[in-house]
């Protein structure tokens, strides 16, 4: 197995104008991923029970459209045509690769492309014991999230061409105003894959992506049993007395 060579830190453009999506492993200046694993061709080949929702966190769409109408003072010329031309590949890379005794290879793949089958997500939420939420709301929430990071397990059986078993085993998402604030919601990992550092990877990738885009206020609301988990990742409860309050309708 080849060992991956250390990669140079991706160039970060002035993030207020143009956030840099760079979570994949890159070769120098070209956008080639070191491990040319392309989930999409495999998705097309593999048979799926449901067509499902194909949702993509719309980074580029939200930036391509114009700013406020009466922006007389500062006209920002977004290099939209250039970015459109080199629309980056979905940011995904292999976190872990295991070779099983029978020759099957299981790859744990991280992706920030936000491709989530909504039914897979629903069943993952069931597995961790979360109450069910309406699918349409879930779909809307994913679509309008600033970033959706996923972890999939892909199992390639020896000798079977293109018949990979792919399943969603982890997800985390963040909403943001793209400038100052972000809130991390819905972090979950399949119970049979917990304890391997996948949750940690998901959250760390989100934090890294947010900080690189100069979004500094990263908040989340943790259940009591996961407060320690987030503390280990660098989160502080009620820092300087800042608390989250929730709205309760009074009838």
């Amino acid at each position: 197995m080849p060992t991956p060579t250390p990669t140079p830190t991706p160039k970060v453009l002035p993030s207020s104008l143009w956030p840099n999506v760079s979570l994949g492993l890159r070769c120098g200046q070209t956008n080639q991923l070191l491990f040319p694993y392309n989930l999409h061709t495999d998705i097309a080949k593999a048979s799926k029970k449901h067509s499902g929702f194909r949702l993509r966190a719309g980074f580029w769409d939200s930036i391509k459209s114009g700013f406020l109408k009466n922006s007389t003072t500062q006209v920002v010329d977004l290099p939209s045509t250039r970015e459109e031309a080199e629309e980056p590949l979905p940011e995904e890379f292999v976190l872990v690769e295991k070779t099983e005794p029978d020759g099957a290879i299981e790859q744990i793949i991280f992706s920030s492309a936000g491709e989530v089958d909504i039914y897979d997500l629903q069943s993952l939420c069931d597995k961790v014991g979360w109450p069910r939420r309406p699918l349409s709301k879930l779909a809307a929430a994913l679509k309008n999230s600033y970033m959706v990071a996923t972890v999939h397990s892909v199992r390639k059986l020896p000798g079977s061409e293109g018949n990979d078993q792919k399943k969603l085993i982890g997800m985390a998402r963040a909403t943001s105003d793209h400038a100052f604030n972000a809130t991390i919601w819905d972090v979950l990992v399949d119970p049979s894959y917990q304890g391997q550092g996948l949750g940690k990877s998901l959250v760390e990738k989100l934090i890294r992506a947010l900080l690189q885009r100069d979004i500094g206020n990263i908040t989340l609301f943790a259940d009591s049993q996961v407060v320690e988990f987030y503390r280990n990742l660098g989160f502080e409860p009620d820092p300087e007395g800042i608390k989250g309050m929730f709205w309760y309708p009074k009838y």
Binding site: M1, P6, S16, L17, L23, F67, L68, K69, N70, S71, T73, Q74, V94, L95, V96, K98, T99, P101, K137, L138, A141, N144, R173, T175, D177, H178, A179, N181, T183, W185, S201, E204, R208, L211, Q212, G216, N217, T219, L220, F221, A222, D223, V227, L233, G234, F235, E236, P237, D238, P239, E240, G241, I242, K243, G244, M245, F246, W247, Y248, P249
Partner: protein
């Protein structure tokens, strides 16, 4: 979007003393296009707010470019305007006469306050995934006009827009001194007992020098490194 009238609640003085101030006309809007980013930046400054949750003591320079981006990506924004003249009279402690002259009244009716002729005096915004959750940020009212119910009006307008889209999970991050305001608007601690946490990890002097960190106000935040791939053979 509409014209409203706000008043200061009557003070607890004996009846013989100063009468209450005349009602103040304001214009409340939910249209992002009514907001001039430069005026908004000025309002942030006047209210001593910057984008950072942990600002430095000195005047934080709020980047107008970043503010535009934040505005554009806020799902809902509320802005409140009033005429400069009215704002000056409202900030005066003692009003010379409680009655509104005919000319003033005529002015208010014939030339009501609009986003174009008024000054931005109040603001609030919310970021939402338009499905499940929403967070309210940066609710502010210019100091001379506080205590008149404008802030509460802003929050209630935001809530109305959210509940209309069937979003009821509405959060607001606030510091100790902002709590009473949000409590008055109907906010409380999470009934599910969740803990609010913010990312505050900073670089430590002891570990290796190759750590990447970024400054946000007072905090120098540590940026987690990209981890390399692991290969295992079972």
């Amino acid at each position: 979007m509409e014209l409203k009238w706000v008043t200061r609640p009557k003070t607890q003085k004996p009846k013989s003393l100063s009468p209450s101030q005349p009602p103040l006309p304001i214009f409340i809007s939910t249209k992002p296009s009514h907001i001039n980013p430069d005026e908004l930046r000025r309002l942030y400054g006047v209210c001593n707010l910057s984008g950072h949750r942990f600002p430095t003591q000195a005047d934080e320079f709020l980047d107008v470019g970043k503010l535009r981006v934040a505005l554009y990506h806020s799902s809902f924004v509320v802005s409140v305007f009033c005429k400069s003249r009215d704002m000056i009279s409202a900030s005066e402690e003692s009003s010379s006469s409680s009655s509104i002259g005919m000319w003033d009244l005529l002015q208010k009716v014939v030339k009501p306050v609009t986003p174009q002729n008024g000054e931005l005096v109040g603001f609030g915004r919310a970021v939402s995934d338009l499905g499940l959750t929403a967070s309210i940020y940066d609710v502010m009212v210019a100091p001379p006009l506080r205590g008149m119910g404008i802030g509460k009006m802003i929050v209630q307008r935001i809530i109305r827009m959210l509940t209309r889209r069937d979003i009821y999970d509405i959060a607001a991050l606030c510091s100790e001194n902002e709590r009473p305001f949000f409590e008055a608007c109907g906010f409380g601690d999470d009934i599910l007992g969740s803990t609010t946490m913010m990312y505050t990890r900073t670089v430590s002097a002891s570990t290796n020098g190759n750590q990447m960190a970024k400054r946000f106000g007072r905090k120098l935040l540590f940026v987690p490194a990209l981890k390399k791939q692991r290969f295992t053979n079972q």
